[in-house]
């Protein structure tokens, strides 16, 4: 498995990276951790004439918690997300999910930016970001703009990010809500058969906020507004959870693949969403 030739660029700042993208149009592609892109290039399924490696752009590696907002640079790796104590405290959901992504070696190089920008519905981070109601910062020729994670994904590999834009950072509100990332997969390193991210806030015995998102159950990540709404205002009893699960499933549209047929995926999705809700509740 040998990739085709390409021109390699390693810009030192976002501006130069953007101008490279602008110059080469859809023949250029940003390289972050590379563990989705490089195998596809080696298989010669991805044709990239200009590879823009953003590893030297220091600003993309920064992450900080300021006030109520968590900022994570696009080049922060999953390994760092797991081992950064302040991030783990501000967003334990991300740590829990990161531990379930790929394998140790891949987590050393796999970045949060690559994971969310790739647009692969099987990636774990997009659903998480939708659950957290994250905002992505995109830099392009005309400056920076932001897009909500919940509005970013159009279909498999098609996102709101233009060919000449780079996703530079992610921001979301720090939360003390009960959390869970539940994922069923065939083995370490596999994509999810079904996965769910859940955040639940309880005010006394009543649910005051709930956010539920799912991975690999449609051609985009699925944030189910209805599922969250089914819990808010209730005491999250069995019937309420059942209603939330049903609402969540209603928003999915899984396809058959080697992980199993649609019927199975739907069923598992229901189980996984329920488990995630129950675990998040136990931590709320």
């Amino acid at each position: 498995m040998i990739p085709a030739m390409f021109e390699y660029h390693r810009p030192a700042d976002v501006k130069s990276a953007v101008s490279l993208l602008q110059e080469h149009g859809d023949e250029a592609r940003v390289l972050a951790g590379g563990h989705s892109l490089i195998p596809m290039m080696k298989l010669r399924m991805a044709a990239v004439e200009h590879l823009v490696d953003i590893q030297d752009i220091e600003e993309l590696r920064e992450s900080k918690v300021s006030g109520d907002t968590v900022h994570i640079g696009a080049m922060v790796t999953q390994h760092e997300l797991i081992n950064n104590a302040s991030l783990a405290k501000a967003a334990p959901l991300i740590r829990e999910a990161s531990l379930q992504i790929a394998d140790p070696q891949v987590r050393y190089v796999g970045t949060i930016g690559g994971n969310v920008a790739n647009g692969d519905p099987a990636n774990d981070m997009p659903g998480l970001m939708q659950c957290l109601d994250a905002t992505y910062a995109l830099s392009g020729p005309s400056g920076e703009r932001t897009v909500k994670a919940r509005e970013f994904y159009e279909s498999a590999f098609m996102t709101a990010c233009e060919d000449d834009e780079i996703l530079t950072s992610i921001a979301f509100p720090a939360t003390t809500a009960g959390f869970a990332y539940e994922k069923q997969k065939r083995k370490i390193g596999d994509y999810a058969t079904a996965a769910a991210a859940v955040l639940i806030t309880m005010g006394g015995k009543t649910c005051t906020a709930a956010s539920i998102a799912m991975t690999n159950l449609s051609d985009t990540p699925v944030w189910s507004e209805a599922a969250g709404a089914a819990l808010v205002g209730t005491n999250c009893g069995d019937a309420d959870i059942a209603a939330a699960v049903a609402a969540a499933l209603n928003d999915t549209d899984p396809t058959e693949d080697s992980r199993g047929p649609v019927e199975f995926k739907r069923h598992v999705a229901g189980v996984i969403v329920r488990r995630a809700i129950e675990r998040a509740l136990s931590r709320a």
Binding site: L51, D103, Q105, I188
Partner: protein, 163 residues
């Protein structure tokens, strides 16, 4: 397509060569620098036979372009101990029969080496999770896990003795 000037520090030695940006790090090491310890098993970053250490991280070198590695510090199995000697981990793999055909072994030991840097006193579960990026077709992992746990104890004992 033009070749680029590549500078690497491999097992403590500075190396310079011309390479196409697309060359994979595993090929640069194996075919240009004759460092054949890391192997190619799956080519899609699933098996870990090509694992080495790059800038303090365990990395699957079949999924790294030479260009990306430019300027990096790399340690392979060949750099874990003085040539002709075996370090604690290497010895533990031998002692506890942690290898059979030997093909996954360099990646396995290189990965375990980093794991023990980060978690010096791991549980069996931590070892199994920490080694889950490396496939072995021969051993069923039981003796690999045993080897790593034994190496950890030995290293910890040596550390305590030194303190």
């Amino acid at each position: 397509m033009s070749k680029m000037h590549l500078k690497l520090k491999v097992n403590g030695e500075e190396k310079e060569l011309l390479a196409e940006p697309r060359e994979l790090l595993i090929h640069v090491l194996r075919e240009r620098l004759d460092i054949t310890g890391p192997h190619i098993g799956c080519e899609t970053s699933h098996c870990g036979a090509c694992t080495l250490e790059m800038n303090g991280k365990s990395v699957k070198s079949c999924t790294v372009f030479a260009a990306q590695a430019n300027g990096a510090e790399i340690t392979t199995i060949e750099g874990l101990a003085e040539p002709g000697t075996m370090n604690v981990l290497q010895n533990a793999f031998r002692e506890h029969h942690g290898l059979q055909c030997g093909f996954c072994t360099p990646g396995m030991i290189t990965r375990a080496h980093r794991l023990l840097q980060e978690i010096p006193n791991p549980t069996e579960e931590e070892v199994r999770h920490g080694m889950a990026g490396n496939l072995c077709r021969c051993t069923g992992y039981q003796n690999i896990v045993k080897s790593i746990l034994a190496a950890a104890s030995e290293m910890n004992a040596a550390k305590e003795a030194a303190e």
